[in-house]
């Protein structure tokens, strides 16, 4: 890494300035020579968490793979905003086939690399929560079960954004989407057991499963780098706020993502071979309200009257996550 001898101090924050870290631990984005996989020219909305997450994830993957990376992309916002000809923003060999088959296409690419003896080339598949947890789940599970040499990255914005914000199986309870309205007697998406893709991935006992968030980009980069270095099937699930679909301010994307982590609603952890080996501890626990209030998709929980029962139910989900993944162990001990 090209280093810059600059002294940089920050106060009143939990973030350590990148340049205060040892070189090996520095963010890839702080390297002036970093790859820039997703170039300017793409058409994402202002403040798009998915664009940010994909850029950091793929830049990290490129570095870890020493430039030898091939990406298969599912249909969805990321694919659409990054590729209308002639403005393809990808600086890597990149392929889009269908909505539900990114994992299988990646399996094919990895198989081709294997027969050609190109073990140096790493393969990533990526898609939205719909392309991962719903229509793409069969192909993904097949790829996991066969332990194909593919890293699948899911950018979870908790709905089908590309088609206009419809509910997916990753849409959280109470969230308003175009197909789970909050009008009349309806109160947004129903409360259910959810569909936890990281846990489903872990149940396949694949070599690596991690969650990450654009609220902690350094953690995302580190996990991608680690995953690229491993073999077999690997899965990273990245929480990416969508200002358009969530009704959050474009400049609040990181704030919203951090509130999800700090409330316990989006637990950050990593697992190897089906067992959790690490988690990102919550430093200062936020009530879920702080997260919900930033987003218009939850506005009906606060006006015209406060829906205390729903908010309490969501708080219970966050508290459950904290217990289950031990997100506050330090504080509890």
């Amino acid at each position: 890494m090209a280093s810059q001898p600059i002294k940089f101090f920050q106060t009143g924050t939990f973030t350590i300035g990148n340049r205060l870290l040892p070189e090996a631990a520095r963010s890839i984005q702080s390297d002036p020579l970093r790859a820039n996989s997703l170039n300017c020219g793409h058409r994402a909305c202002q403040g798009c968490g998915e664009a940010l997450g994909a850029r950091y994830a793929i830049d990290a993957a490129i570095r870890a793979a020493q430039g030898k990376l091939i990406v298969a992309n599912a249909t969805g916002c990321l694919e659409v905003f990054s590729t209308p000809y002639p403005e393809s923003s990808w600086q890597i060999p990149w392929m889009h086939s269908l909505f539900g088959n990114a994992a299988a296409v990646a399996t094919g690419i990895a198989a081709a690399m294997k027969v050609k003896g190109r073990t140096d080339v790493r393969v990533v598949a990526q898609g939205g929560d719909g392309g991962t947890a719903d229509i793409g789940l069969a192909c993904l599970s097949g790829m996991f079960e066969r332990a194909d040499d593919v890293l699948f990255i899911c950018y979870d914005n908790e709905a089908y954004m590309n088609t206009g914000v419809q509910r997916s199986s990753a849409t959280p309870p109470a969230a308003r989407t175009a197909t789970t309205p909050a009008t009349g007697g309806q109160r947004g998406a129903r409360f259910g057991q959810g569909k936890n893709l990281p846990l489903i991935a872990m149940a396949h006992h694949i070599s690596y499963v991690a969650t990450a968030s654009v609220g902690d980009l350094r953690d995302l980069e580190a996990k991608v780098e680690k995953a690229i270095g491993m073999g077999g099937a690997r899965y990273i699930h990245v929480h990416v706020p969508c200002p358009l679909g969530w009704g959050s301010a474009p400049h609040d994307t990181i704030k919203v993502a951090r509130a999800a982590m700090e409330s316990g609603l989006f637990p950050i952890m990593e697992a190897e071979h089906g067992e959790v080996i690490g988690r990102r501890l919550i430093r200062k626990k936020l009530p879920v309200e702080e997260y919900l209030k930033l987003q218009k998709r939850f506005a009906h929980l606060f006006s015209p009257v406060r829906d205390a029962a729903a908010i309490a139910a969501i708080q219970a989900i966050a508290d459950g996550n904290i217990r289950k993944f031990g997100l506050m162990e330090e504080h509890q001990q």
Binding site: T83, P84, M95, S97, V105, G108, G142
Partner: protein, 417 residues
């Protein structure tokens, strides 16, 4: 080497000689013996290096082939019937992207009612998906068409389906000449892709295209198939020179000289038709037949020329455009445009119904006498139809059709017995 061998095995051994690098397999009758044989060969003999991948669905099978092909590997898969429909979205995708995948179809009916036997409903459902579709008349031809298919697909960057009749070919033991490795290596060059996912030269494949160029992309796909109309006969000729036998091509005629009546069909039923032609020629009928070995692209000009002397054409079809009639005959009609030729469409052999010589001969004789219905369903059991229509007339809740018909068959059989 010529040997007595099952059709599926012959195809598998020939495919192996083509050195596929990635094979994706998902089982469905009557395709299973092909992928089983390839699975057995993978990891041994000529099939190295090759990745044989047992996937979780046909949709995944073709998707894996798409990824492999885009990454520059020679990719192969096989399916039939429900499996082909299950991968339909990927079928269009592979051709839209111009990926030269070769896929065997062990032709089988489509449910409901679920039926494992042969007809052409499956490949016909995807005839306009942008794949070249070859139809084999014999197992020898099926095997040979695979060698030609890989060469054609890769030359044109266009996927190819080789369609062989389920059971009738896939499970039939016939003598088949399987070439030796050197022969195939000499004839089939290594895959040199037009586009490839390669970190040394990054490209985007499969990006979004709007109205400004979509028509042109489609036109080029059509143009490619039109070019294939020239290339397919050349390859067949080239194949004959190297392997010493006629296989493939666009169409093959049988005793059509001065024939007033010409029968047109796809696939193995041509064997039976030719026997009937022989028999009827003995009795002085001027009849011949024509086997279409390449259905997409449709050889309209070649067919028009081959049918030039015919007064009437009888199309034997193993598929049905429900609510319309014939599928193949619609294309044949276009080839006959502007001529006064009479065209009869005969729907035959659906769901494995035997297409017998007796029935064909009766049908052809009626055609020659110009007494055949323009749309005929060969050997349709009208007693069953009448009984069922009557049942529907009498009762609102008449129940499931297929189950009722099976029940009626038993009743009728009991009455006869």
């Amino acid at each position: 080497m010529r040997k007595q061998i099952e059709g599926s095995r012959a195809v598998a051994e020939t495919v192996a000689l083509c050195r596929p690098q990635v094979i994706c397999a998902y089982p469905i009758t009557p395709q299973t013996h092909i992928v089983e044989a390839l699975g057995e060969m993978a990891g041994s003999r000529n099939l190295q290096p090759c990745e044989f991948i047992n996937v979780e669905s046909e949709f995944a099978a073709l998707s894996v082939a798409i990824g492999a092909s885009a990454a520059g590997a020679r990719a192969y898969t096989a399916t039939a019937s429900q499996g082909l429909l299950y991968m339909a979205e990927a079928v269009y995708n592979a051709s839209g992207l111009g990926l030269p995948i070769v896929m065997t179809i062990g032709n089988r009916a489509i449910g409901a009612p679920i039926n494992i036997w042969n007809d052409h409903s499956d490949s016909m459902a995807l005839r306009d998906a942008g794949w070249i579709q070859l139809y084999a008349e014999t197992n020898q031809e099926a095997a040979d068409q695979h060698i030609q298919a890989f060469r054609l697909a890769e030359e044109l960057s266009c996927p190819v389906m080789v369609c062989m009749d389920g059971f009738i070919l896939t499970h039939a033991y016939e003598p088949v000449d399987i070439p030796v490795q050197q022969q195939v290596d000499d004839w089939l060059p290594a895959f040199d892709p037009r586009q490839v996912l390669d970190p040394a030269e990054p490209i985007s494949i499969g990006a979004m295209v709007g109205p400004e160029a979509f028509l042109e992309v489609r036109y080029l796909a059509h143009h490619k198939q039109v070019r294939a109309l020239e290339r397919i006969p050349q390859l067949s000729e080239d194949f004959r020179k190297s392997f010493g036998r006629d296989s493939g091509g666009l169409l093959r005629s049988y005793r059509v000289e001065n024939a007033e009546t010409i029968v047109v069909a796809l696939g193995s039923v041509n064997g039976t038709i030719q026997e009937v032609v022989d028999e009827m020629r003995v009795h002085g009928h001027s009849i011949g037949s024509l086997s279409i070995t390449c259905f997409r692209p449709f050889p309209r000009e070649a067919l028009r020329a081959a049918l030039a002397g015919a007064r009437r054409v009888v199309v034997i079809e193993k598929s049905l455009a429900v609510g319309s009639g014939g599928i193949l005959s619609a294309d044949v009609q276009m080839a006959l445009a502007g001529r006064g030729t009479r065209l009869y469409t005969v729907i035959a052999g659906l769901g494995g119904r035997a297409v017998t010589r007796t029935s064909l001969q009766r049908c052809f004789e009626q055609a020659i006498a110009d007494r055949l219905e323009l749309l005929t369903f060969l050997d349709l059991d009208t007693r069953l139809i009448i009984r069922h229509l009557e049942r529907e007339r009498l009762r609102r809740r008449s129940g499931p059709v297929a189950e009722n018909l099976l029940h009626d068959i038993d009743l009728i059989a009991a009455q006869i017995g």
